[in-house]
Amino acid sequence: MHTSQKQRRFFEGLVRDHSAELYGYAHRFCGDPEMAEDLVADTFTAAWRGLNSLRHRERARAWLYGILRNHCSRWLRDKLRRSESPIDDQGTVMEPESIPDVLDSLALQDHLQTLLSRIEPRYREPFLMVFLAGFSCKETAAELDLPLGTVLSRIHRARKALRREVANLAVADDGSVSRSDKPSNIRTIGGRQ
C-alpha cells in the first residue's frame, strides 16, 4: 500500500477512536459546543499535517490530547484578551448574570458546564484530564510536565471550587448559607438524589 494511503487509513482510525472523547474534553474546557468542534477540527488538521512526526503510534492518544490542550490554551488566551468581562485575582471570569437565573434556565449538563467555566483553567485542565479523559494522575503529571503532588493538589482544588460553586447554587435555592469543603453531592444539583 502506498505510504500516503497508509497514513490516511491511520488518520481515519484516529478520528474514529478519539474524536468523540477529544470533543468531550474540548466541550468541557471551553463550554461552547461549536467552538469545541472547531478546536477538535484544528487538532486533527494539525495532527494530519504532523503525522510524520508521530514516532510511536501507541502514544497517538496522548499526542492528540497534547495538540488539543495547546489549541485550548490558545483559545483561552484569545478569549481573555478579547473579553471585556472583569477578571478576579484568581483569573476566573466573572459571569455577568446571576447564578439562580442560570440555574432556572439550564439543564444539568449546562449547570455542570457553568460550574466548570468558573474553575481556574490551571485547575480545570488536570481535573478534566483525570476525570474526563481518563488519564491516570501520573500520566497527567507527565503530560503537563508537573510533579504528581501538584497535579493531585490542583485536582483537589478544582473539586473544592466546584463544591463551593454548588454551595452557592444551594444558597440561592433555599436561602440558607452553607459554605463547606465537605464533598457536596454533585448529583443533588441534577435532581438525582
Binding site: 478534566l128 493531585l152 465537605k182
Partner: protein, 283 residues
C-alpha cells in the same frame, strides 16, 4: 498539630487521594489513616469517592454533532498540498542547497575579482610613483641582456624585457622594493619620451600566473606635461607594469596583447622572438 488542623490535613489528603486508582500506594496510605481516625472521616471519604464517580459520569455526557466526523475525515483531502512525500521534500531541499551554494560561489567569485583588481591597481600606482618620482638608475646601460643578468642575479628570478625590439632604447635599471618585495625597474626612451617598465613575480602578490592586460589612465599630467597611462599584465608568473605617455602606451597596448598571447601559448622566449621577426618581415 491541633485537632482541626489535623482534620483539614486529612481532608485535603482524602481529596487528593480520591482521584487516584484503588491500588495506588498513596491512596492506600490515606485509607489506612482514615480507619484509625475520627468517625467523621470514613463517611466523608466514601462521599469523596462517590462524588468522583459521579463527576466522571457527568463529565462524559457530551456528544459531538454527526457532521464532526465527516468534517474530520475530509481533512486529508483539504490538506493535500501540506502532505508532501519525503522524496519531494528532499528534492526541494537539494535544490535550495544548490541555489545557496551557487549564490555563495558567485559571491566568492565577485569578491575574488574585486580583491584581484584592487591588488593590480595598487601595483599600477606603485609603478606610477616610481615613474614620476624615482628614476634613479644603479645600472646605466643600453644592453638589455647585461641589465637582465645583473638584476636577475640580485633578485633571484629571471628578468625579461618584453618591450625590447619595439623601438625602445634602454637607459638603465635598478632593483626596487614594493611593499617589502623586490622588483626590477628599467627606464626606456622612445621618440624623446620616457617609459618605465617594472617586473615582479606574480606569486609575491598573490596574483594568477597569467593576467590579461589592464589599462589604467592617470588624469594628472606627468613630468613631461603629458597624460600618463599604465598597463599591467602577466605571463608565466612574470608580471609587468609599463608606464609612459598616453598615446605611446595606448599604441603599445595592442602589441603587448599580441605578445602576451604568444608567450602564454608557448613558454619559450625563442619562439616569441621568432614570431616577432616574422611580423617584422611581413611589415
Amino acid at each position: 498539630m491541633t485537632a482541626p488542623e489535623s482534620r483539614d490535613s486529612l481532608r485535603r489528603q482524602m481529596g487528593e487521594a480520591s482521584a487516584l486508582p484503588p491500588d495506588d500506594p498513596l491512596r492506600r496510605e490515606v485509607e489506612n489513616r482514615i480507619t484509625g481516625d475520627d468517625a467523621w472521616a470514613e463517611p466523608e471519604w466514601l462521599a469523596q469517592l462517590q462524588e468522583a464517580e459521579g463527576l466522571r459520569l457527568e463529565l462524559a455526557r457530551t456528544a459531538p454533532s454527526e457532521r464532526l466526523t465527516q468534517r474530520l475525515l475530509a481533512i486529508p483531502d483539504e490538506n493535500r498540498v501540506r502532505i508532501v512525500p519525503v522524496p519531494g521534500r528532499t528534492w526541494l531541499a537539494a535544490a535550495a542547497i544548490l541555489i545557496f551554494l551557487f549564490a555563495v560561489w558567485q559571491g566568492w567569485r565577485i569578491d575574488r575579482q574585486h580583491r584581484l583588481h584592487g591588488r593590480v591597481e595598487t601595483l599600477a600606482m606603485l609603478a606610477l610613483d616610481d615613474h614620476l618620482n624615482d628614476r634613479l638608475l644603479t645600472d646605466a646601460t643600453v644592453d638589455h641582456v647585461e641589465l637582465c643578468d645583473a638584476l636577475g642575479e640580485q633578485l633571484g628570478f629571471e628578468v625579461q624585457m618584453p618591450i625590447v625590439d619595439r623601438g625602445f632604447t634602454l637607459r638603465g635599471g635598478r632593483t626596487d622594493k614594493w611593499g617589502g618585495t623586490r622588483i626590477a625597474f628599467s627606464l626606456w626612451e622612445k621618440g624623446g619620451q620616457i617609459f618605465t617598465l617594472s617586473q615582479f613575480r606574480t606569486t609575491d602578490y598573490d596574483l594568477p600566473a597569467h593576467l590579461s592586460r589592464e589599462l589604467f589612465c592617470c588624469p594628472e599630467p606627468g613630468i613631461d606635461s603629458i597624460p600618463t597611462d599604465i598597463i599591467v599584465w602577466a605571463t608565466d608568473e612574470a608580471g609587468y607594469v609599463l608606464v609612459g605617455p598616453h598615446s605611446e602606451v595606448n599604441e603599445f597596448e595592442l602589441t603587448a596583447n599580441e605578445m602576451q598571447a604568444a608567450v602564454a601559448a608557448d613558454h619559450d622566449m625563442a619562439m616569441y622572438d621568432k614570431q616577432t621577426e616574422q611580423k617584422r618581415g611581413e611589415i
